[in-house]
């Protein structure tokens, strides 16, 4: 591996307070270094260009049974976006459910180098890891689903936080997972009887616990354990007009949790756009973004990602089974459901966000409103909840909407006027800077998930760098088309110290690491005894065949927690 110097670019490294200063970045042995005396050094000329740490996507469905069921469901989606093999790259398909190799290539071409898969059902964890092994060029981690797990409900009901903590660590290790994901707490379990929950204080059938108890207990356990990421929460009532109230109520319920030392947040609320709806029905839905933003602005314990909607045909997929059934009935589109024993569920429905549709145009505005009205970019992140709001390949488009009011206006003129009347987007003059884009796409996301070697360019950080061919000194918001072009195909992407993309073309395809939490609670013996009994009675596989073997992770990167 050659050492590399990225020369003369405008560096945006927000975690180290570097805001567009001209400079060089040195890489040696895959890491960023302060100086390099090696003569055999490859020069990457970034003169007049933007240099950022490699992108870190905090929430994107890239691997596992859900996205794969989406791929299987949608031959018509693949047909419009086929990818030929080359001497270096594999063939595949793209668009809303890209095949694994294409996922890796396209992220790298946009300058992203780390992606976190946000919904891993424990019993099919091997599937997630098998697919992640076939996604090159990216470092990865997967969040394990906890919110409707039999053992979670059991320990929450018993009020036994120590057993819950032991269970979290045991399950993360068994599934090679990285964080605690919660999807519609209680609602997914109720969906197994064809029901849902409609708020924080409804009861989970047969368990007599509430969503409120589930999220607060998991958040408390999560912070006491000191996991690198907070709980990753898909709130109740997703997609239900008026749900902003539930969202704020949920945030409020987590206010009093004591965060792990060194961070202030106790919850990350995912794809918040879908949970920021005001109004009573889809007919009179309006934006609840201002109310959510106001809450987030005045409460340090919350971070969100936006879940931006793109006007295109896509494939929605979530662990929120009841919502997917509802969406299938709303749209009339084909519906896949999967109930996963004792743990989770999922649903998949193709969906087209239409410019002429009033509700869709409002959803589009809500995502941007959240990004613009939350003033602290360290707590609001760019996502499309790929592929739910739209494919990740539209991130450059989202960046232009954030950085250019002219670009937003152009879209607003094309779409249903409900967007003007029932949201405040037209009145928002804020435009993101390059520095703020660097925050919401890499620095803040890396920080939020606790990947300390990612998202910045100080010596010791991983050699993950992206260079975009746009000059921040000459750029103005009216030139948003140039911006979109520059962010669509990175001039250079460097992954782990290797130049992998040049002029938007893939040069090589090294594999990425998989991060997971490898810690054991002191009371694990007691926990395992308890788990084994229920396992024998209720699971359809044997306890010994459950944990994912480490051989499933070609580049395994276990993390030991300090606090345990």
């Amino acid at each position: 591996m050659n050492d590399i110097i990225v020369k003369g670019g405008f560096i945006f490294d927000p975690l180290n307070d570097i805001n567009g200063e001209k400079g060089d970045i040195l890489i040696s042995n895959g890491k960023i270094v302060a100086e390099n005396k090696n003569r055999d050094i490859k020069v990457v000329d970034a003169t007049g260009m933007v240099v950022m740490p490699g992108g870190v996507d905090i929430h994107s469905h890239i691997a596992g049974s859900k996205i794969n069921a989406g791929r299987m469901l949608r031959p018509e989606d693949h047909r419009k976006d086929v990818v030929k093999k080359t001497k270096i790259t594999r063939s595949g398909v793209g668009y809303s459910c890209p095949s694994t190799f294409i996922t890796g290539y396209r992220y790298a071409q946009m300058g992203y180098t780390s992606v976190l898969e946000p919904a891993m059902p424990p019993i099919s964890a091997r599937h997630v890891h098998e697919e992640m092994a076939d996604i090159p060029l990216l470092d990865k981690a997967a969040y394990t689903l906890f919110g409707n797990n039999l053992f979670t409900l059991k320990y929450v009901k018993a009020g036994d936080i120590e057993m819950l903590k032991a269970f979290i660590l045991w399950l993360l290790r068994a599934t090679k997972g990285y964080a605690v994901k919660i999807v519609n707490p209680g609602g997914v379990e109720n969906w197994k009887w064809g029901k849902n929950v409609s708020g924080l204080d409804d009861l989970v059938i047969n368990y007599e616990v509430t969503p409120r108890q589930i999220v607060t207990s998991l958040a408390k356990a999560n912070e006491e354990l000191g996991l690198p990421h907070t709980i990753h929460l898909h709130c109740n009532n997703l997609g239900v007009p008026g749900n902003y109230e539930t969202t704020i109520e949920t945030m409020e319920a987590l206010k009093s949790i004591k965060p792990k030392s060194g961070r202030k947040t106790t919850v990350h609320v995912v794809h918040c756009q879908f949970n920021a709806l005001d109004g009573d029905t889809w007919a009179n839905v309006r934006s609840g973004a201002s109310k959510i933003a106001k809450y987030v602005n005045s409460h340090e314990h919350v971070s969100i990602d936006i879940g931006q909607v793109i006007f295109t045909d896509t494939t929605t997929m979530t662990g929120d089974g009841p919502w997917q059934f509802r969406l299938s009935n709303l749209s009339g589109n084909k519906w896949v459901n999967k109930d996963v024993e004792m743990e989770a569920g999922a649903g998949i429905v193709p969906y087209t966000y239409k410019k002429g549709n009033p509700a869709n145009s409002i959803q589009w505005a809500i995502g941007l409103e959240l990004a613009l009205q939350v003033y602290d970019p360290w707590r609001v992140y760019l996502t499309t909840d790929h592929p739910n709001g739209g494919p990740f390949t539209f991130y450059p488009k989202v960046i232009t909407w954030l950085m250019s009011r002219a670009s937003r206006n152009e879209t607003m003129l094309e779409i249903n006027k409900a967007c003007m009347r029932r949201t405040n987007l037209a009145n928002d003059y804020r435009e993101y800077s390059f520095n703020e884009i660097a925050i919401v796409t890499r620095a803040a996301t890396a920080k939020a998930v606790g990947l300390t070697n990612k998202g910045h360019l100080a010596p010791g950080a991983d050699g993950d760098i992206s260079v975009y061919d746009i000059n921040p000194l000459n750029w103005a918001p009216s030139k948003y088309r140039d911006l979109e072009k520059a962010f669509t195909l990175a001039k250079y992407t460097i992954k782990g110290g290797e130049l992998v993309v040049k002029d938007g073309e893939i040069l090589s395809t090294p594999p990425g690491s998989t991060y997971w939490i490898d810690s054991t609670a002191p009371n694990e013996g007691e926990l395992v005894k308890d788990v084994e009994v229920d396992f024998r009675d209720y699971y359809s596989i044997n306890f010994r065949n459950y944990p994912v073997e480490e051989t499933y992770l070609p580049m395994s990167h276990p993390i030991k927690l300090e606090a345990v």
Binding site: L73, R126, H127, Y538, I541
Partner: protein
Amino acid sequence: MEIHTDVICPFCGCLCDDIEVTVDNNKIINVKNSCGISRSKFMNNEINRIYHPSIDGKTVSYEEAVKEAANILANSVRPLIYGLSKIDNEAIRKAVYLTELIGGVIDNTASICHGSSIIARQTVGSSASSLGEVKNRGDLIIFWGSNPMDSHPRHLARYSVIPKGKYIPNGRKDRYVIVVDVRETRTSKLANEFIMVKPDSDFEIIQCLRAAVRGEKIQSENIGGVPINVIEQLANRMKSAKYGCMFYGLGLNHGSTKHLNIEALYSLISDLNHYTKFVVNPMRGIFNVTGAGVVPTWLTGYPFGVDMSRGYPRYNPGEYTSIDLLARKEADAALIMGSDPGGTFPIGAAKRLAKIPTITLERKQTPTTMLSKVVIPVSTLGIESSGGVYRMDEVPLEMRKVVEPPKGVGTDAKVLEDIIAIVESLKRCN
């Protein structure tokens, strides 16, 4: 003597993972917990084995066989790679890569069994569950055109009928079991209710059932041999179940209306979810036929019948599926693994396999090995080698080996890797 526990059975889509195998001096001497078929598979692993590679029936070295295989594949115009249902996920990944490399077509046994189910799913979607949910919640179990007592012998005992579950405290007593079939079977004898239907009338019966579920009045007195009041009763029973589970078999895939049957069935189940919770699962046959669809889907977007001749994947069942390619005399070379098309394909397709250079990776003598030009022995997955597989409900499991394979015999993945290495160098030279 050693006892291996929690062994996963390499026979059917149930992937029972509680088998106990006793091994003495690298020989299996006893098997516990298994069904009769599984026991036979473990105990008779050595019968009829192929120990040496051959070309045109003559024993050759492994290197010669692999080289010949690579030459055939690299020089063919329209090579077909078929089978995949008894090989592990790693080998399937390699098979997809090899197909891409040689611009071939890759297809698996879904092509002749549950392919219709996949097409139906792509058309209307489906509501499914893992088998543990059936065990824990299923209070109404329907087997339609499937006879698991013969095809998946432990399905009823482990997942669907007998076991006690979290919300089924009394096991069998808490479940109502219905069998719908064209004749009495061993499964129908165990059911609470047996509904006999005329062959090839499933489509109209299911559509009537859909109407009955919606409360429509049906004019006919009898549909497909079933009195209308039986259909109405069935509809009511389905609507009043707490957690209904439908399992269907090849009976539905292979009527004259093929995937339309399954589309109707999937739509029925979706309709029922407006009234209660209902799921439907296909009874997948061979132990990793599910993986043979899952793995190519993440690599190419498509589950079977994938054509790579243009350098990117294309999918069109009926065009890029094996029997069609062979019957049209399009395929000019074939690589077969994890299946026996010589024994299962229609005669016209099998004849074509005998005519073109066919390479077969197999453990045992089969009709396919007899018509193949090149035969390379492989180890038995789940007995002699470990590897990842998918259960019929897409739950991934890691099989574990209990004995060493015969000397000089490698895994499917290893053989593919060696073929790929030569094909790669041949392609570079061209």
